[in-house]
C-alpha cells in the first residue's frame, strides 16, 4: 500500500511543496473583465506581434514562463522539469513556446483541466524527491481554439446561450521543495466521467458531473468537510455548469454554495462582455489561479483553497462521429500555512 495515498483517489504530501511564485498573461478581452487587476500583463492585441494565432499562443507560454522565473528569482537551469499543455493538436503552443528553454519537458493534455493536472504531477515529483523546482504552465487562445474547434473567426454565426468563451491567456506556477508556503497539501485525481452530453455548446453540463465527483471523492478520501476551505473553485464550468455542479453535490448531501465559485464565471463581466455562460479553456483556470487566487492567498484573505480544474476530453473528430463528451476534473488543495 502506497503510504502517501489516501482513500481512492487522493494523495497526501508529507513534505508539501510550496508555490513560490505565479505569473499570468492575458488577452485584451480578459484585461477588461472582472479580474483585470490581478493579472501580470495584458497583451495589446491577440496576435501580439506574431503572424498566426498559434504563434501568439506559444509566445504567451514563453513569456509567462519567463515572468514566473523572474518573479521567483530563478533561472532556467535551476528548474528540473517544466510540465505544460494546451488545447491545440499535439499541444503545439507548449512545444513551441518552450523549445528554447533548455528545461526537461513533460507535455500534458488534460483539456482545460491541464493546470491542476500539471500542479498535481509537479507536486508528486517534488514530494517524491525527484525534483526541487518545477514549473507548471498552460495556455489557451480564443482565436486558435475557435479555428480548431468551431468556425473561422469571420464566419457570421451565432453562439448558443450555453456556449462559453475560450480565454486568451497563460498562467504559470513555480513549485519548490522549500517550506515557505503556500503549500499544496492534497491532490485528488479525477476519473473520466461521461454522462452522455453531446452538445459542444454546453461544455459546462458535460464537465459538471466530473467536477462534482472529484469534489465528493476529495471529501470522502480526506475526511474533511467543506467548511475547512475558504474557497472551493472549479475551472471553467460557466454559469450553467456551476449550477449543475451545485445541484449534483446537494443531491449527494454536500452543500458548498456559500464558499463555491467558478473561474469561468468570475473572469468575464458576463453582462457587458457577451460571453454567454462564461470563460473556458486551459488559460481560464490557469490565469484565475495564478492571478486572483494566488494573490488572495498571499494577502491572507484565503487560508485554504480547493482548486478543481475541469476539462472536456473531446475533439472535433469525436464530435463529428457523434460521440458524447467525456469530462475530467482534478483537485488541488492549497494551504496558506501548515497548521
Amino acid at each position: 500500500m502506497a503510504e502517501k495515498h489516501l482513500g481512492k483517489q487522493t494523495v497526501y504530501f508529507a513534505k508539501p511543496p510550496s508555490i513560490r511564485a505565479t505569473a499570468s498573461i492575458v488577452g485584451p478581452k480578459e484585461g477588461k473583465g472582472n479580474l483585470r487587476q490581478s493579472f501580470d500583463y495584458i497583451i495589446p492585441d491577440e496576435l501580439w506581434g506574431e503572424d498566426s494565432w498559434e504563434k501568439a499562443e506559444s509566445k504567451l507560454v514563453r513569456e509567462t514562463l519567463a515572468k514566473v522565473l523572474q518573479k521567483g528569482s530563478m533561472s532556467n537551469d535551476q528548474i528540473e522539469y517544466v510540465l505544460a499543455g494546451d488545447l491545440l493538436n499535439q499541444c503545439i503552443a507548449a512545444n513551441y513556446g518552450l523549445r528554447e528553454t533548455d528545461i526537461p519537458f513533460f507535455g500534458l493534455f488534460g483539456a482545460c483541466s491541464t493546470m491542476a493536472e500539471s500542479m498535481s504531477l509537479g507536486s508528486m515529483l517534488i514530494d517524491g524527491g525527484y525534483a526541487d523546482n518545477v514549473v507548471c504552465v498552460t495556455s489557451s487562445h480564443f482565436c486558435s481554439a475557435e479555428r480548431q474547434f468551431r468556425y473561422p473567426l469571420e464566419l457570421g454565426s451565432q453562439r448558443a446561450p450555453t456556449s462559453q468563451w475560450t480565454v486568451t491567456g497563460s498562467g504559470a506556477a513555480l513549485l519548490t521543495s522549500e517550506q515557505t508556503g503556500p503549500f499544496i497539501r492534497h491532490v485528488t485525481t479525477g476519473k473520466i466521467n461521461d454522462m452522455g452530453i453531446k452538445d459542444t455548446n454546453n461544455m459546462g453540463a458535460a464537465m459538471a458531473p466530473a467536477a462534482a465527483d472529484t469534489i465528493l471523492t476529495h471529501f470522502a478520501d480526506t475526511g474533511l468537510v467543506p467548511d475547512y476551505y475558504d474557497l472551493i473553485i472549479t475551472g471553467d464550468l460557466g454559469k450553467v455548469g456551476k449550477k449543475i455542479c451545485l445541484d449534483l453535490l446537494k443531491m449527494n448531501g454536500l452543500d458548498i454554495e456559500n464558499r463555491y465559485n467558478d473561474c469561468g464565471v468570475m473572469i468575464f463581466d458576463t453582462k457587458q462582455q457577451d460571453t454567454h455562460s462564461g470563460g473556458s479553456g486551459c488559460g481560464c483556470s490557469a490565469t484565475v489561479f495564478a492571478g486572483y487566487i494566488y494573490k488572495e492567498i498571499m494577502k491572507g484573505n484565503l487560508k485554504r483553497v480547493l482548486f478543481i480544474a475541469t476539462g472536456a476530453l473531446m475533439s472535433p473528430v469525436s464530435t463529428q462521429q457523434k460521440e458524447s463528451i467525456p469530462g475530467i476534473a482534478h483537485a488541488v488543495a492549497i494551504h496558506r500555512s501548515l497548521d
Partner: protein
C-alpha cells in the same frame, strides 16, 4: 454521478437548467436583416433592369454583386458582427454563402495559399454545392423521363 441519474435523466435535467435562445427576438432580427438584404438585392436588380440589360444577365449580375458585397464586408471584419446580431438573417441570403467561403479562405491563409486558402475555402460551403448539384441532377433525370 451515475447513481443519481441515468444518462437520459441527466440530459432531461440539463435541458431544464440550460437557458434557451431568445427565439422570438432572434426571429425578428433574422426577419428584418434578411428582409433588408433581399431589398438591397431587389434594388440592384431593378437598377440593372432599368439600364436595359437582358433578364438572364440581370439576375446573374445581381447575384455576383451580392456575392461581392458579402465577400467585401467579410474582409472588412464586419460580416461576423452582423451574423452575431442577425443569425439566419445573414446566413441564409447569398451574401452569407459568400461569407462562408471567404471566412475560411482568410482564416487558413496562415497555412499557405494552396493548402490553406484554396484547400479550406469550401470547408463549410462545399456540402452546399455537393448536395445542390446532386439534387439538381436527380430532378433533371426525373424531368427527362416524365416530359
Amino acid at each position: 454521478m451515475n447513481k443519481n441519474f441515468t444518462k437520459q435523466e441527466y440530459s432531461k435535467y440539463v435541458k431544464s437548467v440550460s437557458p434557451n435562445s431568445k427565439l422570438f427576438i432572434n426571429i425578428i432580427k433574422a426577419f428584418v436583416v434578411g428582409g433588408i438584404i433581399c431589398v438591397i438585392g431587389q434594388m440592384i436588380f431593378n437598377w440593372l433592369k432599368g439600364r436595359g440589360l437582358d433578364p438572364e444577365m440581370v439576375s446573374g449580375l445581381t447575384s455576383t454583386i451580392m456575392i461581392f458585397l458579402g465577400a467585401f464586408f467579410t474582409a472588412l471584419n464586419i460580416y461576423d458582427e452582423l451574423g452575431r446580431f442577425a443569425g439566419a438573417g445573414s446566413i441564409v441570403p447569398i451574401t452569407g454563402f459568400a461569407n462562408s467561403v471567404v471566412s475560411p479562405a482568410m482564416e487558413f491563409k496562415t497555412e499557405g495559399y494552396i493548402m490553406g486558402t484554396a484547400a479550406k475555402m469550401f470547408v463549410i460551403a462545399g456540402p452546399v454545392i455537393v448536395f445542390g448539384i446532386c439534387s439538381s441532377v436527380l430532378v433533371g433525370i426525373i424531368h427527362y423521363f416524365i416530359s
